[in-house]
Symmetry: C2
Subunit: 397 residues, 2 copies
Amino acid sequence: MAKIALLGIGTVGGGVAELLCSNAAQIAAGAGERLELKYILCSRPHPDSPFADKIIYDFSVIENDADISVVAECIGGVGAAYEYVKRALLAGKSVVTSNKELIAEKGMELLGIAAHKNVRLLFEASVGGGIPIIRPLTQCLAANRVDEIYGILNGTTNYILTQMFQCAQRFDTALREAQRLGYAESDPTADIEGLDAGRKICILADICFGRNVPPDKIRIRGISEITAADAALAGRLGFTVKLLGRAKRLENRLVVYVSPHMIGEDKLLSGISGVMNGICVKGNAVGECLFYGAGAGRLPTASAVVADLIDAVRHTPDGKGPRWAEGSDDLLADIDELPCRWYVRSRTDAAALERVFGGGAVTENGYSASITAEMPRTELEDLCAGLREAVAYPVLD
Amino acid sequence: MAKIALLGIGTVGGGVAELLCSNAAQIAAGAGERLELKYILCSRPHPDSPFADKIIYDFSVIENDADISVVAECIGGVGAAYEYVKRALLAGKSVVTSNKELIAEKGMELLGIAAHKNVRLLFEASVGGGIPIIRPLTQCLAANRVDEIYGILNGTTNYILTQMFQCAQRFDTALREAQRLGYAESDPTADIEGLDAGRKICILADICFGRNVPPDKIRIRGISEITAADAALAGRLGFTVKLLGRAKRLENRLVVYVSPHMIGEDKLLSGISGVMNGICVKGNAVGECLFYGAGAGRLPTASAVVADLIDAVRHTPDGKGPRWAEGSDDLLADIDELPCRWYVRSRTDAAALERVFGGGAVTENGYSASITAEMPRTELEDLCAGLREAVAYPVLD
C-alpha cells in the first residue's frame, strides 16, 4: 500500500480525495497496489468534510514522514505551493500537481530538483484539466518533431465566446452567467485577459520544444475586446472566434502567444463549445492530432491528478521524464513575424474595406469586416491606418 | 545503443525504417539512447531499398541474436506474424506491433507470454494508427471506470461516407475513388464490411473492461447498404452517417458491436472527415474525451510504432502493462438490448411513417425517413413490419 499526502482541499483537492475513495478498486488495479490518503494539509479546519480526520496544518509532518512516498499539490499559485513542492522533492518524495502557474514559472527549477533527488514531478492536470495531453506528447508522440501546438486552453473564455456566438449574448452578460455557474472567478482577470491560457501554452511549448518559455515573455491578448458585432460579422464570413494559446516553430526560433483567432467552421476546433478544451498538435510524422475534453472541473482535473499518482507509485524514476533547458533572448520570435490572414473589423463601410483588402467584406450594425490576404502584422497595420476604429484578429489556417 | 529488428518492409514497416533515420535525434532524446535498426526480415529481396543491407530472410537470425532487445512486427495477419511474435517473446525480446488482427485474436495469449517472460508487448499502432489512444486509456485515464468507448476506427469507410455525404457521390464511385487513392485495398471487404473496425473495437473493449472480447463474437454491420438516399435523407434530418465501433457497459455486461450510426451535426464526431479517425471515451471521473488524428498511413502509423519502440527501450517491464482476462459466455449482451433512437428509411410515404413513429418524417426521391423515439430493436422491428423496404440504423445519443 502506497501512502499519499494531499495539499489543499479546494475544488481539485476535494475531487482527488473523493476519487481516491470512489474509484479505489480501479486505481489499485492501475497502480498495482492500494493508494491510501494519509494526510490532507489545510490552512483551516473543515469539520464537515468526510476527510476531517486526515486534516493537518503543519507541512513538516508530511515532510518528515518517511511513509509518504508521493505528495499531491492542489493549493495553486506560487506561494505556499512552491515552498511545499520544493521541500517535498528535497525530502525525497515524488510530487504530482495540477498547478499551471507553478509549472509555467518554476517548472524548470523544480524538475531539476526532482531529477537530482531521483524522484518524480508530474503535472498532467496542469494543462487541459482531465484531457490526456502531457503524457501523449512526451510518450506517444516521442518519435515526432513537433512543429506546432495550439488549443482552446481556458474553459471560462470558451464558455463566454460560445454564449456570444451561439446565443448572441453580450460579453458582460455572458461573463455574469459564467460567474453565476461557477465557471468564472469573482475576479475573472486571469481568464479573460488570457493569463491562464498563457501559462498553459508556455508549459506545452516547454515540453514540445525543450526550452523554457516564461509566461512574462510572451504576447498575450485576451477576449475583452471581442464584441457582439464580431460575433455577427465573423459568423457571416464563415468563422467563429476562439481564444487560442499557440506555439509554432519558425526555423530555429519559436512564436508563442495567446490571442483570439478566427477559425473556419470546417475545422474541428470551431465546434468545441462551452467550457470544453481542445488541443491540436502537429508532428512531422503523425500529422495533426486533436485532444478534446473537460479542461477544468472537480472530477475531470482530479482524474488527471490521480493518474499521475498511479504513475508515480507504479514507476520508479528513470531520469528520463520531461525536462526543458533554459531559454535564451533570441529563442522567441515576435508574433509580428508570423504571416497570416487577418480578420479586420472597422467603422469604415464595406466598399472602403474592399478597396483596401479586396472583395468579400460584410456589414452589420454599422461595422464592416473583411478577411485579408496573408501578410505580417506590420503590413496589416499600414493598411489599417486609414480605416476608422480598425481591430484585427489572426485567422487560424 | 539499443538494437532493433523489424519484421516486414511494407507500408508501415517502410515508414518505421524511414522514421528511425529521419527523426533519429528526436527518438534518441526520447529513448535516452540511440535506436539502431539491425535487421529487416523480408520474404523477398528489395534491391532498391535504402535499407537493402539490413534485409534478411530467416527469422531465427533475429531470434538467436542476443543483441536484439526489441522486435517491431509490421507483417500483418495472424500467420507468420503470430509465429514470429510468439517466438520473439519466448526468446526474451520485447515486441511492438501495429497488427490489430493479431492483438484482437491472440492478444490475451501473447500478453500472457510477455508477462511470463518479463518482456513487453506494446501495440499503440493497432488502433487509431498514429492517434495516441492505448497509453492514454491505460495510463492517463487509469483513475476512471470507463463506461463507454466508441469511434470512427476505419479511414477507408469514413472516406467513402464523407464522399457520399459531402460530395453526393454514389457508394460505388466513392469506393473506386478510395481504391485509386490507395485508401482502399483491391479487395475492400475487411474495411467495407466492418471487420477491421470490429477488431479495433474488440481491442479497446479488452483494455477498457479487462475481459477478452473475441471479434467473431460481436455483431458487425458494414456500410455497403448505405445509399445515396440515406445521405440526402439524413442530411435533411440534421444527421450524418459514420461507421462506429462501440463498446458500452450495461450493468455487469458489455455491448460491443460495429454499425453505421446517425450522428447529430452538433457532435464533434460528425465533423471528422475523409480518412481521419476519432475515438470517444466516457470515464466516470473525466467525463467525455475525444482523440482525433490519422488512423492509418505510412508515417502516422510508424509514429505510434516508434513511440512503442522508445517505450520498450526506455522502460523495463514491471508486469503492470495492459492485460485482460478470459471472457465468458454471459459477458456480452446483445445489441438488441440497448435502447436507442433509430433512423428508419422506407419506401413507404412520409405520412405513413409519421403514423408509425410520430412527426418529422422527410421524403427524397421516393424514400421517406424518420427518427424514432428510444426503443429496443425488437420493438422497432415490430413497428417496421408494415413498412415497405424498411432499413434502420441506430442514432448515437
